[in-house]
């Protein structure tokens, strides 16, 4: 079994060592450095999640990925996620196909329905329609990925008649995943449309997703498709020791979840709920390289997944903390997980 390991960021706004927020621009330049450093540290994939807020100033991740592509040779680069419901599938395909050209075939895309919803009012979409928007747009995106001229008609954008959408890729479709947060009907949709499955596990015991992984492969089979990979995306932070990692992560986690809780329906975290999530049966990967590696290995095995993407960083953390996290993840966590799984 071949396992791959990624890092994801939402462009979490950095602070300096004194706790002062850095500018959006400096945060974005830091993300470029982090992506380049991730390759040097031996990470396989670097992903950027689309967000439109002051604490996640990252609406154009593809531009940032292009800058990283120009300075790297091996690391794969993609969205994590693209909020497809409030975007035009044709434009998303064009941007990532362009990234694929710049990077020599290293582009990927993870499509999300939108659990972060700030892009809907920004671009004039009605959130009540997000299910329908996503279904139709993901269907069109699957057509665009095939590469030939596209004929398509729907409710969410202008029809396409035998339309050639450029730039063409050099070697077929680039990898495309659908991000799912726990709705089994979204798992079925990913299989029906022929996408790979990205399980976003940000709370509660990851083991409950084992049934989703099996559901995905069974659904692919039912739709006459070959097996496809499953990846796990979860938040975390790696530092020298468990105590050190928790001390850096917990106050920032409490602050950002408290901030987004009202609109996303999250509970306000307490120290107890955090300790549970950071423990062996929770969804957060916060700790020493060994603690985090063991948890990743266990969950990849239990969920029959072959890729793990750590969503690193939080608003208010320093660039130095993030670089240390990347170094430990690449040099210690990944080799340790491979060892545990071999």
């Amino acid at each position: 079994m071949t396992y791959t390991f990624g890092l994801d960021t939402f462009g979490d706004r950095n602070s300096d060592a004194e706790g002062q927020s850095l500018s959006h621009a400096q945060t974005i330049r830091n993300v470029v450095e982090e992506g380049v450093f991730a390759e040097q540290a031996g990470v396989d994939f670097f992903g950027i999640g689309e967000h439109h807020t002051g604490y996640f100033p990252m609406p154009a991740g593809d531009v940032v990925l292009a800058a990283i592509a120009a300075r790297t040779d091996r690391i794969r680069l993609g969205s994590a996620v693209t909020v497809l419901s409030s975007d035009d599938p044709v434009r998303v395909f064009q941007r990532y196909s362009t990234l694929n050209a710049i990077s020599g075939g290293r582009a990927e895309v993870i499509l999300g329905r939108g659990s972060s919803i700030e892009s809907f009012p920004l671009f004039g979409y009605d959130l009540a329609d997000y299910e329908e928007l996503f279904d139709e747009k993901a269907t069109l995106f699957a057509e665009l990925l095939k590469g030939g001229p596209v004929t398509w008609e729907g409710k969410t954008r202008a029809p396409l008649l035998n339309q050639d959408v450029v730039p063409h890729t050099e070697s077929g479709p680039f990898p495309a995943w659908i991000g799912v947060g726990g709705n089994p009907q979204s798992v079925i949709r990913a299989a029906r449309l022929g996408f790979s499955l990205a399980l976003a596990i940000i709370g509660g015991p990851p083991a409950r997703f084992a049934a989703y992984s099996e559901l995905f492969q069974r659904a692919l089979d039912k739709f006459g498709r070959p097996p496809r990979p499953v990846l796990v995306h979860s938040p975390g932070h790696v530092a020298a020791s468990d105590e050190h990692a928790k001390a850096e992560f917990w106050p920032r986690w409490r602050d950002v979840i408290t901030l987004v809780a009202p609109e996303r329906g999250f509970a306000i975290p307490t120290r107890e709920s955090f300790e549970r999530e950071a423990g062996p049966h929770g969804a957060l990967y916060v700790g020493s390289p060994d603690t985090v590696a063991r948890k990743i290995a266990t969950n990849l095995r239990d969920l029959a997944a072959t890729r793990f993407d750590l969503k690193y960083g939080l608003p208010g953390m320093t660039h130095d903390q993030l670089m240390t996290n990347i170094e430990l993840y690449g040099h210690q966590v990944i080799p340790r997980v491979r060892e545990l799984l071999s």
Binding site: I117, F120, L127, A128, Y130, G181, G182, N183, P184, Q185, V187, I188, G203, G204, P205, R208, A211, Y212, E214, L215, R218, A219, K222, A261, P262, E263, G265, F266, A267, I268, T270, E272, S273, H281, A283
Partner: protein, 240 residues
């Protein structure tokens, strides 16, 4: 089966409970219909199946569409058309987004005991008329004038609901609120909540059930029975 909340029914229920306390033979469990197979519905269905309830699940579409989901994710559940699932049920659990519920024909649920496990999220549900003066379950109840509505299972995250369930008497058992205007209905749902793994805390009106909503003191919180009762009391005090 239609249900009413006449004094006769109350008396019968009280008698049933008294019998239960003395006789070890469990009574015939109520039949559940869970409407919604997204994040929340499958979790509630699994817990109820584990507790011995016969459970059907339905979405707005053909049950064939969710057959794989029910087989793998909710073993033991019956996938049905929504009207069949409701017709065969004593208790109907609403586990769909609130804005979807607003498209459901209230006649579908007429005369049923309905558990409102939904939450109101303005960003996705739009602005609900009358909210601000009343809680979301009161709006649900007004829409379902022919049904008996109880608010429950809305304030524990779907990702925690199974993990936190404990058998009666466990030292780390968590409490869960059950609110409604009809005491017999509240008693019946309190029994359901107890059987699936939580210490029920009864609130004698949907109005008082507002304390269970997002932003309230128990929403998403891990609380034991005394902690939960204290939180509810303090919230009531601060509103008074």
């Amino acid at each position: 089966m239609s249900r009413t909340s006449t004094p006769d029914r109350l008396a019968a229920l009280a008698e049933e409970r008294a019998l239960e306390a003395t006789v070890t033979q469990p009574r015939k469990p109520s039949r559940l219909a869970v409407l919604g197979a997204g994040h929340v519905g499958p979790v509630i269905a699994r817990l109820a199946i584990r507790a011995g309830y016969p459970v059907a699940i339905a979405t707005s579409r053909d049950p064939e569409d969710i057959a794989l989901i029910t087989e793998l994710v909710i073993p033991g559940v019956q996938p049905r058309w929504a009207d069949d699932a409701v017709a065969g049920a004593d208790i109907v659990v609403l586990a769909m987004p609130l804005h979807r519920f607003l498209r459901v024909d209230p006649r579908l649920l007429a005369s049923k005991l309905v558990v409102d496990a939904m939450n109101y999220w303005p960003a996705t549900d739009g602005v609900l008329q009358g909210l601000g003066e009343s809680g979301s379950s009161e709006i649900v109840a007004r829409r379902l004038a022919g049904s008996t509505v109880v608010k429950a299972l809305n304030h524990i995250g779907y990702h925690e609901l199974e993990d936190q369930a404990r058998p009666a008497g466990a030292s780390d058992r968590r409490a869960a609120g059950v609110a409604g205007d009809d005491p017999a209905a509240v008693a019946e749902i309190a029994d359901l909540v107890d059987r699936i793994g939580y210490d029920p805390v009864r609130l004698d009106s949907l109005r008082r059930g507002r304390v269970l909503e997002a932003g309230g003191p128990v929403f998403g919180a891990v609380l034991t029975l005394p902690e939960f009762e204290r939180a509810v009391r303090e919230a009531a005090g601060s509103l008074a």
